[in-house]
Amino acid sequence: MKTNKIVTPLKIALLGLTTVLAATSAQADVLSDVKSKGELIIGTELHFAPFDFLDNGKHAGLNKDFFTEVGKELGVKISYVDLPWPSVLPGLEASKFDMVGGPVTITKERMKRYNFSLPIADASVALLKRKGNSAVTKPEDIAGKPVGAGKGSSQAAQLEDFSTSLETPAEIKLYVDNNSAYSEIMTGRVVAVANSLPNIAYVASQHKNFEVVLPPFGKKTYYGYVTRKNTDSESLLKAINDIIVKMKADGRMEDIQVKWFGNPMDLPTDMIVPQI
């Protein structure tokens, strides 16, 4: 299936070359641009199961399934640009792609800078630990221990807040790549890694060495997709939101939630006010 394949870098570049000339010259509407060139370019990182990852060498995940539907609805082809996470938001600002399709936690700070879609998943923070590690059975057990989190993630910020509320704060180590952090659980350099529940639940379900520490801690947060905060992008955002609502109504959303989270996820249907 050609449309489902991750675009080869060469193609991205060639497409980039043509789109860039347009992007720099015209203050055009992103949605109509997307439609006229027949392609929606999504920036994401393929390191974030179950949203975006490689399954048997092929791009798979909830985002993939969602945007395939978006492609059908809008009648355009979907292309992905895979970037290290720290480059994703700068890339959006630099108009390297139309929107960010990797889930971004909706926060007050980020809402000042970007526009978010309706929530597409719960982003509450929980801990992942080595299976059977009895030293950590509840979130509070991390007091005084080394704990990892993704550098620059809202989960890291939440972990920090939580940690300072403990008697002895945890020793927080920040990793550029989530999966490096997870391997640190096995090396023993950290006792646990904080990340969003859907992500670590999926990791724990796929890899027998890991286990989720429940309950989640910190404030309730949600993931959304991101567009640039300008008038050009508003129509695209609205189209995405409309598709989310439509997919919730006709049950397609529930199908992919069951497929990737194991069960349906109850999400707000209106734009939320972020707690952090």
Partner: protein, 222 residues
């Protein structure tokens, strides 16, 4: 687009500590790499094949693979073999190993460019091998290879950006962190670029100063 220097000023202490750590890692790694590289060079020049071939393989593997991957294997793979390193230790050791291969080749070429006659003169006067190495070969080699040495040190300094992946809070780690926190990407990247430019320029200046001093009396064409 606005260029908000205030972001940088607000985070100056963190930036300074990142800068300090970058320099620390570079300097310590360079020193270890030189010593290690000297032994590797001696191994490369050894007459015994059992010694020479494994050392040659070491050099080729180190030079043939990216530092990023080496560091990753050292830090995240090490514990599987019982090697637990702290991030900074892993960063410094990784850098030192990476550069030791380059230093070794440089040292070897330096040794080779010392005329054989000088060594014969020492040999016939009864010098021990260690004395010849320490008093005749190394001092001259160091002068001959100063330009190459500076080049490698500049490369080494720049490779520190990669230490981010093992959570070493060096300059790039700190500045990209500030960038994603405050969205001041342009500002932080500019500071990063300028800082490295200064570092490299200082290294180069120091190198040519040393070279001038060292080669004051030495004929360059030996």
């Amino acid at each position: 687009m606005t260029f908000d220097i205030q972001v940088i000023i607000d985070h100056l202490p963190e930036i300074a500590s990142g800068f300090g750590l970058t320099i620390l890692c570079t300097v310590v790694a360079a020193l270890i790499a030189m010593v290690l590289g000297l032994f590797v060079a001696l191994g490369l020049m050894s007459k015994a094949a059992v010694f020479r071939y494994p050392v040659r393989l070491y050099v080729e593997i180190i030079r043939g693979t990216p530092f990023l991957i080496q560091l990753f294997l050292l830090y995240y793979g090490g514990p599987s073999f019982g090697l637990y390193l702290e991030p900074i230790e892993a960063g410094i050791i990784g850098l030192a190993i990476y550069c030791s291969a380059y230093f070794a080749e440089l040292f070897r070429s330096g040794f080779n460019s010392i005329s054989l006659g000088q060594l014969e003169a020492a040999q016939i006067m009864g010098f021990s091998k260690i004395s010849v190495l320490w008093r005749i070969q190394i001092p001259q080699m160091m002068v001959l290879i100063t330009p190459g040495l500076v080049n490698i040190c500049i490369i080494l300094g720049k490779e520190t950006t990669i230490l981010s992946i093992v959570t070493v809070p060096e300059l790039a780690f700190v500045l990209t962190g500030i960038g994603s926190e405050t969205y001041a990407y342009a500002e932080t990247l500019t500071v990063l670029a300028i800082s490295y430019l200064i570092l490299s320029e200082l290294t180069a200046r120091f190198g040519s100063w040393t070279e001038k001093r060292l080669s004051k009396y030495m004929e360059r064409s030996i």
